[in-house]
Amino acid sequence: MKKIRYRTKLDLFKNDVRKEEKGVQDHQPKNQSLSNTGELDKQLDKNIEHIKSLFGKSEDVKYREIEVVTSKKHRVFLCFIDGLVNESYINLHIIKSLMEPDYTIGSPQLVKEESSDFLKVIESRIVSSLNVKEVRNWKTTTDSILLGETLLLIDGFETGLLVSTQGFAARNVGEPDTESSVRGPREGFNEVLKVNTSLIRRKINNPNLIFEGMKLGKQTKTNIRIGYIDGIANPKVVDEVKKRLKTIDTDSILESGYIEQFIEDHPYSIFPTVANSEKPDKVAAKLLEGRVAILCDGTPFVLTVPHLFVENLQVGEDYYSRPYLSSFIRLLRLLSLFLTVASPSIYIALTTYHHEMVPALLLTTMAAAQEKVPFPTFIEALLMAIVFEILREAGVRMPRPVGAAISIVGALVIGEAAVQAGFVSAPMVIVIAITGICGFVVSSLSDAIILSRFLLIFLAGALGLYGILMGFLMLLGHLCSLRSFGSPFLSPQAPINWNGWRDSIIRMPLWFQKTRPHSVVWRESKRQGNQNKPTRPDTEGEEMS
């Protein structure tokens, strides 16, 4: 009885949605047929009418009609979108040039030319802009206007001119918040695509650096650039990236995260198989290793593929500072990764199943701390881990002025006060603190870390160390099964590739890394010569002999 009622309700709901969808779809093609099909007309009035019917309702689309008087009168029409264009540029280089034609205009030579093709005259002599192109169909016209170009129509011509007058408010190139460094460039990408490509091109001065263009999103028509270095990147990977991007059929791409979710290899995995970065130096380094970058207009986050697991342990600074400390810190990152995933669960397993593994003195201390706590260790750990995540989220989302309040409350919740009140034991606070701090060390993996941490907490609560072992085996097996654009996610560790070990868990000196990572390019790829090892001038002869 209940089941039937449930089904009819569901059907009703479904029908509703379908009706709504139909309404939207009915409206859409009309609009699109107007903008997309057809060519420009010879008569200016018809063109104006067409444009106004397209953009008529929008207040930010501006029109300007002027008369240019040379030997004849010409009606000229301008259309642009307020805010997307540089107004002083239009004033100076289009309107002023048109209205105050220089003295040569009156010359007989010009009169002759003018009578034949006034459009050419405007394009080549009057408009003093860097980029002017002719246009005949409405589709490119509207698209270009929407990108901030100015449409210039002249009565009597079925060809319009598009002048690139883009100029809009953008954030300055600044230091990124997500990836800060002590040594190395401070600049980060911003939201403007051409600034981002220029930042990369300034690092790699090479004609082989290619940025292929593409537009994604039926409604947003977001500009995308696929960056790669011809001759280094594997052409198969480039083709695969293009193929996957082409199959995206969606309304909107508002951030590179949208693209990531449409092109990743394993949508059901908790591990990301597409990397992102805000730093041009990092993206440039990845391009030079043979990866492909996907830049998306409107976001500072640039995607790079293929993405390997070890990249989460690597930081640009590793390469800028000398190898010894870098290698040590990479090992620390690996340790942090282990600690942040496993420390709460190991604590649970030791205190509820394997008391004999803890040294007697430590066990006494731990037992003393637990004595007054009302919850089982498992519940305690679960609560604390959740509270920590809530605090972290609050720290990210809160408005800046209340930051101090959050940190005070946070210190109360996971700190001395909680211990004093007897809600949690002091060792648990330490364990959660270690977990949290270590989580920030490998922040690029944070989503996978948090989920696997909770998985292990549950396994440890039910099965002890055996459960943790099973959990790690599951995670490891899963990691081994992942691929990112043809590269095994765990390479160069699995499948093993000794060359790749030179720059994975430890970083060998730069002069030692003679080839590009095989796990990315999948072919022999020499990066540098053999003579790069620095030698003292006085031992040069000895080295040779």
Binding site: L363, T365, A368
Partner: protein, 390 residues
């Protein structure tokens, strides 16, 4: 999908958590003492259970950090489980440090007592086995505030762990005890805890527990106790010395002593078989240094100093030989081969061993043992000779 998740969930819900024990539910047993009631012939088992709250760093509860609970039973295991009737925590033995057995009980044989511990998985193999001399084993656990550690179990454990910093006692854990007791060619020894009652004021404490001497077993039965000098002899023979002090009478000034610290030593048992005659030679070499010199004389030349060191070496050698002879005499009288001579014979002359192993205790009792001791005193510390105030 729903079916699979049901299967996976039931793995956790049905198979998990069965041996889960929160720290609040267990009572850590630090030490066990075993006596025997002479009237009922039942075992009296005393467990020392730690009270963690008293050790808390934040607000420790006042009072002793441990609890003594005594239960009786016809078997050890029965008594162990009976303890749970009297205490609100389930006994947890993995951190048990020491099992103390009274001298009387040990004479009846230890294997039948220790079986429960050795068979079960709850107690570790390296728990110390000790004999309480001339007192109930429980009394040792009752002694309070006798060491740095507030918990007697930790105090006893640390004391037994540092037998290598002196020569006067031995320490044996459950595993070595079993090994030595079950093997044909050797007999076990065990540490001896002595309860000393001192006159109040003399040493500021009225009770003290000392680790002193060794208990000698024949197989698993206690045969007798070694005094401290006999124990030193035993440890010279087994070569189990890392450091320790020897006091030697000084021959340059009457009534004064010289202290020698053992830096390094080696001992080797060499069996010799000539026809039917089995004999053993024990080679001991010791390296020592002078750490104390009470005499206040001055050497006129370095020759005198060399003479002094030579005589010191001879003195040292004599003491070692005396102590070794003492313990050999005692062991042969008790017919227990605590030195493992039988094992050494087995390794070198397996055929001879197979012939004699059935009556080995009797053979051992009158086997000739010769001693070869080498002493080398290499250093006199930071000072060359003795000082004479002028």
């Amino acid at each position: 999908m729903r079916r699979y998740s049901f299967v996976i969930l039931s793995i956790f819900l049905l198979s998990g958590c069965w041996d889960r024990k929160e720290l609040k539910e267990i009572g850590m047993v630090g030490a066990i003492a075993i006596d025997k009631d002479p009237d009922t012939e039942e075992f009296i088992l005393t467990s020392q259970i730690l009270i963690p709250a008293a050790e808390s760093s934040q607000n420790p509860s006042p009072g002793k950090p441990f609890l003594l609970e005594t239960a009786t039973g016809k078997t050890i295991f029965e008594a162990l489980r009976k303890t749970n009737q009297m205490i609100d925590r389930r006994s947890f033995f993995a951190h048990n440090k020491i099992i103390i057995i009274s001298e009387e009980l040990a004479k009846e044989g230890l294997i039948s007592i220790l079986d429960s511990f050795y068979r079960g998985k709850e107690i570790r193999g390296y728990v110390w086995i000790c004999i309480a001399k001339e007192t109930n084993a429980r009394n040792i656990l009752e002694a309070e505030n006798i060491g740095v550690s507030r918990i007697p179990a930790n105090f006893l454990n640390n004391m037994l762990e540092q037998t290598d910093s002196h020569l006067n006692s031995v320490s044996t854990n459950l595993l070595t005890f079993y090994k030595d007791a079950l093997e044909a060619g050797t007999d076990p020894v065990a540490g001896v805890l002595v309860m000393e009652k001192k006159e109040k004021g003399k040493y500021s404490q009225n009770k003290n527990v000392t680790l002193s001497g060794a208990a000698v077993f024949k197989k698993d039965k206690l045969m007798g106790l070694l005094n401290e000098s006999e124990t030193r002899g035993y440890r010279w023979i087994t070569g189990d010395i890392k450091t320790g002090a020897l006091s030697l009478p000084s021959d340059i000034q009457e009534g004064k002593y010289v202290s020698v610290d053992v830096i390094k030593m080696n001992a080797k048992i060499v069996p010799e078989v000539k026809g039917e005659q089995i004999s053993f030679a024990i080679h001991v070499s010791e390296k020592g240094k002078v750490t104390e010199q009470q005499a206040t004389v001055q050497f006129s030349d370095s020759k005198q100093q060399i003479n002094f060191l030579n005589s010191l070496q001879a003195e040292n050698k004599k003491i070692i030989e005396d102590e070794m002879n003492q313990v050999i005499k005692k062991a042969q009288a008790l017919k227990t081969d605590i030195f493992g001579l039988g094992n050494a014979l087995n390794k070198r002359y397996p055929n001879t061993w197979n012939r004699v192993k059935d009556e080995w205790p009797e053979t051992f009792a009158d086997v000739p043992i010769s001693l070869q001791v080498k002493v080398n005193i290499t250093s006199s510390g930071l000072m060359k000779g003795p000082f004479k105030p002028e």
